[in-house]
Subunit: 515 residues, 2 copies
């Protein structure tokens, strides 16, 4: 079914225009008005289904409640004809659902997660983050008896933990299936759904689950429904995400802090030496000086460059919001900056500062560093480059606190404390045919070019899962960018919920004929 | 009396040998054996007088108890014929005593302090830091009924708050007067004593007291009895002390921490920039690069150089104790290092390090800096040099948190937070005739050259008092160097108490005839 149906939207895309999607006089997609009408008529059941899901506490560590979520989700998917299984892992179960579509030759694996960030109810405006409330955008007041409304202001928002991250995409998906069914049409792909119950805890059970469930998880394309849409409000595709490695760099001074008067100018200062080390790694323009930092990264192709340039970004507004007058000179454009690995000092510590500071030469000084990785620069190689750089500056590198013999033998002693194995980056080629089909479908259905991100700057815990499964993956984020993700008063703009249904419908219908 | 009697010891010193004191075949000082015999016979009353004084709590903030100390001291000095006054100040009183000596033409002002550091009894081996105990050096056990002993092992120690800092020098002084009286001889100078009740709180009342009590405080030489003797155990003179200025340097980043993935490589990092700033101020060899840092400091004269070289110091042992393999390359010799102002990073802070670190570009980074001053480099000038250096690196310097307009206008923003006005250095010329007399007397009485320190590396709160009074001052520290000063289990080695009586006697008898 895939091959003979692909011409309709596939022709919208040509290699000649690189990764952009030509919108022109193409025919409107026949099912779209029907789906829009269904959404307009079914705001109440969609909102109610989400409110009911949000009322179930879902912090990953709260395993009994997480399982209650899983059982509830089982019911939601079974209602739509999915064959559902809870795939047991060492941690919380994966909710797995499969929906076969007659004649479909492609299988999509759709990933979302049903756990949420831990909550501190004292920071919320409502009594309980698991008792969702709907608030008006105009005055921020709670809308009473919101369950009874049949139409909502798209600017109104639901406030609850996981409202945007990541329960609403699950509801969008089920509503999209209902809407397509009501419109008398079917998805163009077989659908497999996997819902993670530990994403906010780093998805520790995902990769181990592959060994046990590889057959169920196999697909042609993975679509990750997670994260915030581009602030422009346009449909968004991200073809990758940077990875991360974390390392603390400690420079050792005297065994214990020594009096800065009695020994100042004579005993060297580890905080000063740490500053010199860090300064040797990155210059005032943001250029990273560690040898080989960007090794293996090819220059961007003209297509990739035009993809980055096409991302609509108001740099001045962003800088103003951050209170920063200018970006790093090394990477004045944000999208460029995200294509390369970082070397970021995320924290510094040595003795004390402020009015409680003691007049000492400290015993040690530590910089906590995170390195955002790209696919060409894996964690191990980057840690090795830092290690070589530190050693190259005359440091003896220790694995633990230095003993007396080590202290006697070496004038400069440093330690690298590595936190875990890191999370790898992933990047799917935007030229991948499945990716092109998905982009074209989004463009045709929404009538606007999607924002296409070659990579997210951040890291998704699902990366190792993607790499291990070995087939292409991309992210389609749908929720409002200002959703207070991971914070108090997490929220979902209802307009994003309703438009998200259309977005998921476009995914489910990719490569289908226009009418 | 001073002029015709000074030849005896004065001749021991000649300009040709610089500041060293020639010990040769000079005549033994007649009163010394008598004073030694007195000390040997009077260990019990001396120790008892100290134990009684130590039993009085003396934390500066505990004003009623501090006043009880003052009243007790009044009695101790009156017993020796002093005219005593409590000089009232805005804080605790100064205990002031005056003893006129017939025919004396010189007046010494002897300074000690009778307050002590705050105590945390939980850290002490004894129940109460104000119930002194005497412990054997052999097994560290408490010696029972120590008050009843008439002879003490010089290695035994008294444990109590202020045992060494600074009540024992007061008892040494009074015992020295008793011993000289018993030996049938008198001090060679008029004695004025001022005992500070707020030294451990920074001596805030000393300088203001001068306006009111300048006449009482006038003298030819101030002798400060405070601090630990040189570890060699030899009598020690310090002709000065470095001052101190404290400043925190903060570099500002975005208004709030931003996601290191979403914005890494694009928003510049204040911790990195702080590292670059600090690195620009001092190199890996410890050389300070701030413009004009040592301006006004003359090269050391050959006499000064030989004075520094004569200080007995086991650098390797010190470095081993600190767990450091080598000193700063800029100042490989400790005594050299102490002659110059420092630039010491006493603390660093930015966001978090360790397993709790967040993956952000921090909003700011702060280095806490202390600058040890010498007389040629006052606090204000040094802060101004740091300010000029920071500005010279392109920073706009703010006085408080930057507002939006400032953030928009300036790419690099830093703040200097200055803590107080600093404490000035003081330095008395070792060539000062009074200083030479004192050094010669110590040499002759102890039969060993005193260790002479051109300056202490640390700072004494009394510096502004010295500078304001305007006559020469020097320190004669007497207590054991390993006395746990300012810490739990502060202690005094009894050998230092007994030898200290002889040291104070040497001061009281300076320039007197040998027999």
């Amino acid at each position: 079914m895939k091959c003979d149906l692909r011409g309709g939207l596939g022709l919208l895309f040509t290699l000649a225009v690189g990764i952009s999607v030509v919108l022109g006089a193409q025919e409107p997609v026949a099912w779209v008005p029907k789906v829009r009408a269904w959404i307009a008529a079914h705001q109440q059941p969609v909102v109610r289904e989400l409110l009911d899901l949000l009322a179930r506490p879902n912090v990953a560590a709260d395993r009994p409640n997480v399982r209650r979520n899983a059982e509830h989700l089982r019911g939601m998917f079974e209602k739509r004809g999915f064959r559902v299984e809870l795939l047991e892992t060492a941690g919380n179960p994966l909710v797995y659902g499969e929906l076969k579509v007659p004649d479909a030759t492609r299988t999509l694996l759709i990933y979302s997660h049903y756990d949420g960030q831990p909550v501190d109810p004292t920071g919320w405006k409502q009594p309980d983050p698991f008792t969702p409330v709907v608030r008006s955008a105009k005055d921020g007041r709670e809308i009473p008896a919101a369950r009874d409304l049949t139409r909502f202001d798209p600017e109104a928002r639901i406030y609850a933990r996981s409202a945007s991250d990541d329960k609403s995409p699950i509801v969008m998906m089920l509503a999209a299936l209902d809407a397509l069914h009501a419109a008398g049409t079917a998805p163009s792909s077989n659908i497999r759904v996997v819902l993670d119950g530990e994403e906010e805890a780093g998805s520790p059970s995902l990769v181990p689950a592959i060994a046990k469930y590889r057959d169920q998880l196999a697909a042609d394309l993975m679509v990750i429904l997670d994260g915030p849409q581009h602030p422009s409000g346009r449909p968004t595709i991200a073809y990758g995400a940077r990875g991360i490695a974390r390392v603390d760099l400690t420079v050792f001074g005297p065994k214990a802090g020594v009096h800065s008067g009695n020994y100042g100018n004579w005993i060297s200062n580890p905080a000063q030496r740490l500053a010199l080390l860090l300064a040797s790694m990155k210059d005032d323009d943001g250029r990273i000086l560690v040898n080989g930092w960007n090794d293996g990264i090819e220059p961007l192709t003209p297509e990739e460059q035009s993809m980055l340039a096409a991302v609509p970004e108001d740099s001045s507004a962003m800088l103003r919001a951050f209170g920063v007058s200018a970006p790093e000179k090394a990477y004045p454009k944000l999208q460029d900056a995200l294509q390369y690995p970082t070397l970021n000092v995320r924290g510094l510590s040595s003795a004390f500062v402020g009015s409680g500071a003691r007049t000492i030469i400290p015993d040690s000084a530590t910089a906590s560093i995170d390195i955002r990785l790209v696919t060409e620069t894996p964690a191990g190689a980057m840690i090795a480059r830092i290690r070589a750089h530190v050693a190259g500056r005359g440091y003896h590198i220790v694995e633990g606190p230095p003993d007396d013999a080590t202290r006697t033998a070496h004038a400069k002693i440093a330690r690298l404390t590595i936190f875990g194995d890191g999370t790898a980056a992933f990047r799917t080629s935007p030229m991948n045919p499945q990716a092109r089909s998905l982009a074209a479908s989004l463009a045709a259905v929404h009538g606007v070019e999607p924002v296409q991100l070659r990579t997210l700057g951040g890291t998704v815990p699902i990366s190792p899962f993607i790499r291990e499964l070995g087939f292409p993956a991309l992210l389609v984020p749908t929720v409002n960018f200002d959703n207070n993700q991971h914070e108090e008063n997490e929220n979902l703009r209802l307009g994003n919920l309703f438009e998200g249904i259309l977005t998921v419908a476009a995914i489910l219908k990719m490569d289908a004929p226009v009418r």
